[in-house]
Symmetry: C2
């Protein structure tokens, strides 16, 4: 069988890094300096200008390739269906933001006008997103609470509560837009990678819980004070349950009916996806029915049902943002900006891969930044995208943002002309529709057991983010989640499983010596594998593990040797002065006193200078003098998995290596990354004790070198030289 | 020359992970389950009890080996010298904590009584630490400001301002003690590794700046309102400079004289360290002189100098902590607990290494926790250790905590009997002594250029922590610094330098193909090295780099092939129905419509089921059908530096591999860590497309396998089979 197999046959010289560099010269690669990059960045020619314009106005790109015959119909149909969803979601999500319903329609209109020109995604539906609306709502309620006076902001004078709230919401949105625009201009769109799928899943699940709780009061049909800040969800639930007896039965029944019907129809839509030309727009149908019934039977006066009420007809004058609100809400606007962008970008990415075009994160940031600044000026609140709405837009045939523009137009028509039709719509219907749409987000709880079995740190991130966001609120929760996530990265490398390797006989392979029976560990050599990057958090751990692996602490051995040496030197002087035998004892006390004085000298390299003979520490020494026996002559450190070193690790490593070198253990480092070697050179790692000759290309190279070097000392047993004793 | 060198000769079979496992059986190692650990933890026998008692009461350990003759004298001398320093620092640091001076003496006494029994370090001097005092002071001033009413806390009623402040300080200290004790009991002492040297340097430098600013008002001799919260340092400086004209000249002159004298003598102490038996206790001398002069010339009434004033004589009754203060200060007490422990532990570690004994982080946490709880009950404030005081204790001959106990007794004597002697001491003298001791901490600024040249991320951590702590306050700054530090770890692995490797001819070595001239890249094979762990933050980066390295996007190729296949199948049916030639065009439109409908099917593996001939995508295809040419048949991924994978990376990797496998590129993974392989198995990484046979032991094994496999297809050029066409 073996003969049939392909053989691995190699014959080449043993290479250390140094000898390899002699045999094979490296091409000198010119690295670009920061200056070069700046120069390149500032170079200007017509091609670059054209590219810049195209990347700043992606509309030019897709407009030029627009296939009117094939795409236009799809875009129009999709725009109309998306528009209906957008109107309903606008109304519903404005409740989450604690704003009058008509401002949700504004949000479905203004941001889209800008995104049409600046956005790189052709499929997302720009507009309100429940999580964002809720986060804006938290600021709104904090600054303009349901009960009690609003925050001390001068511009609030003369405004009623809803107007104050609109001012707060649009100012927060404006600030969020500024943050997004700034991040886009600074090209830091990559930061969304820190929001891993796990973190986002935990976060959105928590958001779903918050949304559920916030809609309960609408579904139950009574008013409850809104709470903000950490643990507000607990106070909210308490307040809701305290008033549970004042439930409006009409609201509750209507909500339950709607939830059940919508749920069932959605399941059917899902099941017969392939057979239905378009999914049944059950939410729109239910809204229309509810509107009609509520108007016909006059629910508002007959059952005291809370309805949407007077809609603002047409658009209001632009509103400058308020600086005092900026100051009050800066800490909250930043996570809103991040979440808004992250959601839009991840949804956009899914569709860009599906339809094979590229999207640009930084341009998306700019697009959303400008959209939100523009929208906020016209009193709309935070815009991003909703997964459900985008799915409608794409599945109903939308090919470009023309569909988005048409859906925005639909929102405009309702605002300008048809808003009065929605006035009898009960708020409980909107609440019920929001809740029934939470199914997907809440189903993510099923990920917990999956993650727990697969990868516990990841599960901790999920649960930490989710619990943090539920209990502390979405903004603080996001920060907690990020912290936990970053900690897990450190944690994964903090307690890695170091191992002692040994040779599989007859091969150049090295494996964990605990894993195999017939494995060869040459006497006096230890191969120690470091299976992770080394940095401040694990350098001490490695040093401990290394001491454990070799079986002694090199610094202690060094100190004992130095103490012994002092005694020996004294002894030598005495014998030199021909005071024999009894001098052994006399000198002892003296030396003992002496070495007490100079503790630090003990850590220095053993100084054989005044000694006329060669020491072998493992040989027999005079009485009273004993040092621990060290059977190790070579230590090989496998650096193949060390992907980076920081300064703390560098210092720690240097100390550790010196400790070994000073007790005459040869240290070799193998498979070290090129860039780490470069860094060691630039950080003055090498000196008269730590030499570049310690680096070898592979484990086997180093081992062959060691075996060669120690071939002849097999029988070595130099004692103290016999010159004088 | 080559002949003289040791040769590297290996002949063995080519091993994949699978074939290696067949040849060499792995020893089944029994891993301890969580249950085993719990069982072991709960096992109880006399040996374990003894060990537990010894580790809980380290005093037993060192008392048993106490060498009375050799150590006692040193301990007593050291205790007296440390005691004098402790008294002075106690007085001075109580100013930092905005408390009456006598409580600093309490802090030098009570915590030590407990630490004596519970502490594992024999050399640190337990007591006040300037940074901690300042952090406690920040809470004190926030809750009981200089001007205006104190916080709304019921227990404040009937207390004067100083008493209120003592209540706040002792409650914060109590809470800090609870945190430390809890961390010790939970065995989480390892968390201090997150406070890297760089972070601590930046943090302590910022603390020195805060201390400097806080002492300016004492040195200048006028009262300034204290500020708290972010940016308070700016308001403080503004307030100080606004009142600069009301400087008390006597205070200023006295401070400057003291600072200059102390500075010079300290430099001399340092320079003649070797020759002096003990360093000159210049601070104690200056304090005594200042006391005498101030009393003799009656500075207080003559020059309006602010003096220490009435000292509390003796001890006051214990004080229960206040729950309302707990609530108000929980967020601040936690960083205080961490900083206090981290400083004490790092100082203790230095001396434990020097004197060769072990300290136990978790026991230290318990010791400091109980010390602070006990101390706080007797109105002392946060205790840790001061580097300077510990240096005195160790250098003057202290061998055990007996020295600490004696220094505590000295503090007690002053409190009980000699306090009145310190009453005329001007506060400006204490301020001057605090400032002159900041030299070492402020000198750390010199690290910035050093770090900048060596390691930019580390420099960012330093500057970020320092600026954060200066501007936002110490507690928030510490959090910011930690965040930045964790980010750098992620950042170091986020944009790693991937490379394409190639073979050094005649060897089994592979190097970056851009680095060497004569390097061998077999046709159709790419070797891609991943030089860092793969996780959520860099998986997309890797996939992009990989696509860049191979020169095409596998998913696009797959889609184009699938589209082409649909056309071919149609075409085949037509030719089958004997509709020749013109059918080519007729079928085209139809298929184009069809594939538009089923976007997702395009990502599935190419389905050759209905095709009676074998496809070669690189061969010539009928007109109208074109697919990108793929010259790659094998892709080898070098995983040697991949030290961990998370779930996001796992999913991303699986997708990426499948994309390649589906376009008939064989993917091999080499040098994969054992534990990562295990994880892949447990996470269901393998299926009918991704097989365990893709794992090879080394790069060269995989390469030999690939070359063998593709030896015979050198001349392959199967066209569409000629069965029917």
């Amino acid at each position: 069988m073996v003969t049939l197999r392909k053989q691995y046959v190699v014959a080449r010289p043993v290479y250390s890094e140094d000898s390899f560099n002699v045999d094979y010269e490296k091409i000198h690669r010119q690295r670009k300096t920061t200056l070069d990059h700046v120069k390149e960045y500032l170079t200007c020619d017509s091609k670059r200008v054209k590219k810049a314009v195209l990347s700043l106005l992606p509309i030019i790109g897709w407009m030029r390739i627009y296939r009117v015959k094939e795409w236009l119909l799809g875009d129009v149909v999709s725009g109309i269906s998306t528009g209906m969803v957008a109107i309903m979601q606008g109304l519903a999500f404005s409740l989450l933001a604690s704003l009058p319903a008509s401002y949700g329609l504004y949000t479905a209109f203004f941001p889209m006008l800008i995104y049409f020109f600046l956005g790189t995604s052709r499929h997302i539906s720009v507009g309100s997103f429940p999580v964002l609306s809720l986060m804006v709502g938290a600021v709104v309620v904090r600054l303009v609470p349901d009960e009690g006076p609003p925050a001390n902001i001068t511009d609030f004078e003369g405004l009623d509560r809803d107007q104050q709230r609109v001012l707060v919401a649009s100012s927060v949105t404006f600030l969020m837009g500024i943050f997004q625009l700034a991040m886009g201009v600074l090209q830091v769109g990559f930061i969304v990678v820190y929001l891993s799928d796990t973190l986002v899943a935990g976060f959105t699940t928590a958001a779903a819980v918050h949304i559920l709780v916030s809609q309960l009061k609408f579904v139950l049909g009574y008013n409850v004070k809104s709470f903000t800040g950490p643990f507000s969800i607990i106070w909210s639930l308490e307040a809701i349950f305290v008033k549970i007896t004042s439930t409006n039965i009409c609201d509750l029944v209507m909500s339950i009916v709607i939830m059940v019907v919508v749920f069932i129809v959605k399941e059917l839509n899902d099941r017969y996806k392939a057979k239905l030309p378009v999914p049944i727009p059950i939410e729109v149908i239910m809204t229309i029915i509810a509107c009609g019934v509520s108007f016909g039977f006059n629910f508002e006066t007959r059952f005291g049902v809370d309805v949407v009420g007077k809609m603002v007809s047409g658009y209001e004058s632009p509103l400058p943002p308020n600086m005092e609100v900026f100051e009050e809400s800066a800490v909250e606007a930043f996570p809103i900006a991040i979440v808004g962008f992250a959601v839009a970008f991840s949804v956009a990415k899914v569709y860009s891969i599906k339809h094979d075009y590229t999207i640009d994160g930084n341009q998306e940031l700019i697009a959303f930044g400008v959209s939100n600044i523009f929208g906020a000026s016209f009193r709309s609140f935070a815009a991003s995208t909703a997964l459900s709405r985008t799915a409608v837009q794409e599945s109903s045939g939308g090919k470009t943002q023309l569909a988005g523009l048409i859906s925005a137009m639909m929102a405009m028509i309702v605002t300008v002309a048809l808003g009065f039709l929605l006035e009898p719509l009960p708020k409980s219907v909107l609440g019920a529709l929001v809740i029934v749409n939470l199914k997907g987000m809440l189903m993510q709880f099923r990920e917990i057991p999956y993650l727990w079995r697969r990868d516990i740190p990841e599960c901790v991130v999920w649960v930490g983010t989710c619990l943090g966001a539920i209990l502390l609120g979405l903004d603080l929760g996001l920060a907690v989640g990020l912290g936990v996530e970053l900690l897990t990265v450190v944690f994964r490398t903090q307690f890695p499983r170091c191992s002692v390797l040994a040779n599989i006989p007859g091969t150049d392979l090295y494996k964990d010596c605990k894993d195999y029976l017939h494995i060869f560990q040459p006497k006096g050599v230890k191969v120690f594998r470091i299976p992770s990057p080394i940095f401040f958090a694990n350098i001490d751990f490695f040093r401990n593990k290394l001491a454990e692996a070799v079986g002694f602490s090199p610094i202690r051995v060094l100190r004992k040797r130095n103490k012994a040496l002092m005694k020996l030197k004294k002894l030598w002087q005495k014998t030199d002065d021909n005071i024999a035998e009894e001098g052994w004892r006399g000198s002892y006390r003296h030396t003992a006193d002496e070495y007490c004085m100079k503790g630090e000298e003990l850590d220095q390299p053993t100084d054989f200078k005044d000694l006329p003979f060669r020491m072998d520490w493992n040989a027999e020494l005079p009485a009273h003098i004993s040092v621990p026996r060290v059977d190790l002559h070579s230590l090989i450190l496998d650096f193949s998995a060390v992907s980076f070193l920081d300064i703390s690790a560098l210092k720690g490593l240097k100390t550790a290596l010196k400790e070994f070198i000073r007790i005459d253990v040869d240290v070799y480092i193998v498979s070290c990354d090129v860039y780490i070697l470069e860094k060691l050179h630039s950080c003055m790692f090498f000196d008269e004790e730590i030499l570049t000759s310690m680096f070898f290309l592979t484990l086997h190279d180093a081992m062959l070198h060691v075996l060669e070097k120690h071939k002849e000392d097999k029988g070595r047993s130099w004692l103290l030289s016999d010159t004088k004793l």
